[in-house]
Subunit: 349 residues, 2 copies
């Protein structure tokens, strides 16, 4: 079955994916860090008991697992594929997951909140993923009793999530704004509108490969529709800015950029060992060039998937064993060499 | 006919070529800058009149030209192929050249001295080139009267050349000593033994592509044999040091070096524009890798010739027209892309 990230999508030159997650908590358990280890085990079981109902109503295939029982590499690989959050993967207490086969829906249990319902899709379509998450929320609430206050809305472990419990986010690919050093300024401007821009794997993580997560900061006092409309409005502006910058860069220095993109390809195609940051930067160059029609890859390759697969844990899963970083760097180079098709000049040249 | 630099030679991993030049002056003309423009014309004619005798005795085909009448590009291209010195190419007065078809023998007229006889060969063989230059010297002296003092020897425009008038030099390829930053120290040590190390095109020019000219500084008070023996002794040491460094580098960090060499190839193979310094550095990496068996080029290509041909003027001659530096950088990249064969891992990997 195709994963959600294997689908192609509109606005794919800037918007890699759209994601929402809903924070929910059960009335009958203590919140957050005050949850006892015994209660964590009970909680995971109680929520996973709702899985058959989810399968029945949603019609998708779902898998269950207890994330804290998995190996470090498997947990990390799930983070790299955005299936679980770094918080869930890092937790020592019992944690659980209900995951759809295409990995588009993931229900995390005993993350910061008791339940985090996540829905994700390729390209720019928050309405679709919000509808999906909402649908899952409705199913779960048939069997589980959520903590809800008539005045505040859904109650959550962290006050910033109280209300709708909704975080909506886009993953954006911003090579032109990154190369011209404009992301920091953009971040300040967005902050004024309650929107935040972060690195690849959320809070506190660095940006790699010109990839960023943009999401709403607050949920209290706003409806879901308002949150999504506000984020869409900001992201529309970012898309315009990014595209304008790309056009400008190509007009001002096409030859230099074409050269840079081809050189990035040359290095990726011949390197014998490569670190993840280096590879992400070069792949971002190449993706930018392919999106802008500066170069054409002779076979269709999803460079964003390649970016996901070369992350440390995913690569180890592909290798089928735990290896040190120097072995990984050589395996990464080999993986990229094998995956990259031939290249030629694009239609814009 | 194959040029001298198209021959392969012993010690070719370090010694690219061997060269001698003999400085001679005619009794009947003023020396150096005191030569009048009219006398320069007479001088060039008088020496070129000896060309038939050279042809007859040497048996090679020879071409004559008046270098100052050539275009800037043609003069510069001759410098890049080491056929004439930068001094001769830059002179405004009448200058002349008698050049053998394989470009191994070049008789420069009205350089710093009235006559500079140059002989060059691939690899390490000063005795051969000295014998050749000596032979030409003998032929010329049958028809021309050289300025010679019984006490000092041959008289020259610059005192450093008085005596034998001999400068012997090797062109060395020193990637390992360059990469480990040891050339400067080497230069100091050599200075103590009257040997100097310089950039690619002699005095005052920069090193490119890890290529250096090593030559004797003084000629007075020493016989030709002593000069050559002294230089050979020093260069033998340099060869040993360079080879030891290469071995050490390969033992200490084979994977890193292999990666660097392959990346250099990848950039050379895909760049759309490239400056001469950048290209020389990357080609030096590749030559080092090929010499050391780290990589194998699937077809035999003389990388030193490639290094000569991508110099600015030579490239313009190949293009058949004068072009600006940005067009040249694109032409250089295309030329290299077309010339470089496929690559694979070498027998050492």
């Amino acid at each position: 079955m195709r994963k959600w990230y294997e689908e192609t999508a509109e606005n794919g030159d800037v918007v890699i994916s759209s994601r929402v997650r809903l924070a929910r908590n059960l009335r009958s358990y203590r919140f957050g860090s005050r949850l006892s280890d015994e209660d964590a085990v009970r909680l995971v079981k109680e929520v996973q008991d709702a899985a058959p109902l989810v399968k029945e109503k949603d019609g998708k295939r779902y898998f269950l697992c207890n994330v804290n029982h998995l190996s470090e590499v498997n947990r990390q690989a799930m983070v790299e594929r955005y299936v679980v959050s770094p918080t869930l993967a890092g937790k020592k207490q019992e944690t659980g997951l209900i995951l759809s086969e295409d990995e588009s829906v993931s229900i995390m249990i005993n993350e910061e909140d008791h339940i985090r319902i996540q829905s994700v899709t390729a390209g720019m379509d928050l309405e679709k993923v919000f509808a999906e998450a909402n649908f899952i929320d409705d199913i779960l609430s048939e069997q589980l009793s959520f903590s809800f206050d008539d005045r505040f809305g859904y109650l959550t472990a962290c006050p910033t999530n109280v209300g709708t419990g909704l975080r909506a986010s886009y993953m954006l690919f911003l090579p032109a704004l990154t190369m011209t050093g404009r992301v920091e300024k953009l971040s300040e401007e967005m902050g004024k509108y309650g929107v935040t821009i972060r690195g690849l794997y959320g809070e506190g993580t660095k940006s790699q490969g010109c990839l960023y997560q943009v999401s709403n900061q607050k949920t209290l006092g706003r409806t879901e529709k308002e949150i999504i409309a506000n984020l869409d409005c900001i992201v529309d502006q970012v898309i315009k800015q990014e595209r304008r910058r790309r056009e400008y860069m190509l007009q001002a220095g096409y030859d230099e950029i074409e050269d840079k993109i081809f050189r990035s390809y040359g290095i990726l195609k011949y390197a014998r060992q490569i670190g993840v940051e280096d590879a992400m930067t070069l792949l971002a160059q190449l993706k930018f060039g392919a999106d802008a029609g500066v170069v054409k890859l002779k076979e269709d390759v999803n460079l964003h998937i390649l970016m996901m697969n070369i992350q440390p844990a995913g690569l180890q899963k592909l290798l089928g064993k735990n290896v040190g970083s120097s072995v990984r760097d050589r395996a990464r180079a080999e993986y990229i060499r094998n995956k990259l098709p031939d290249i030629e000049r694009g239609q814009n040249s």
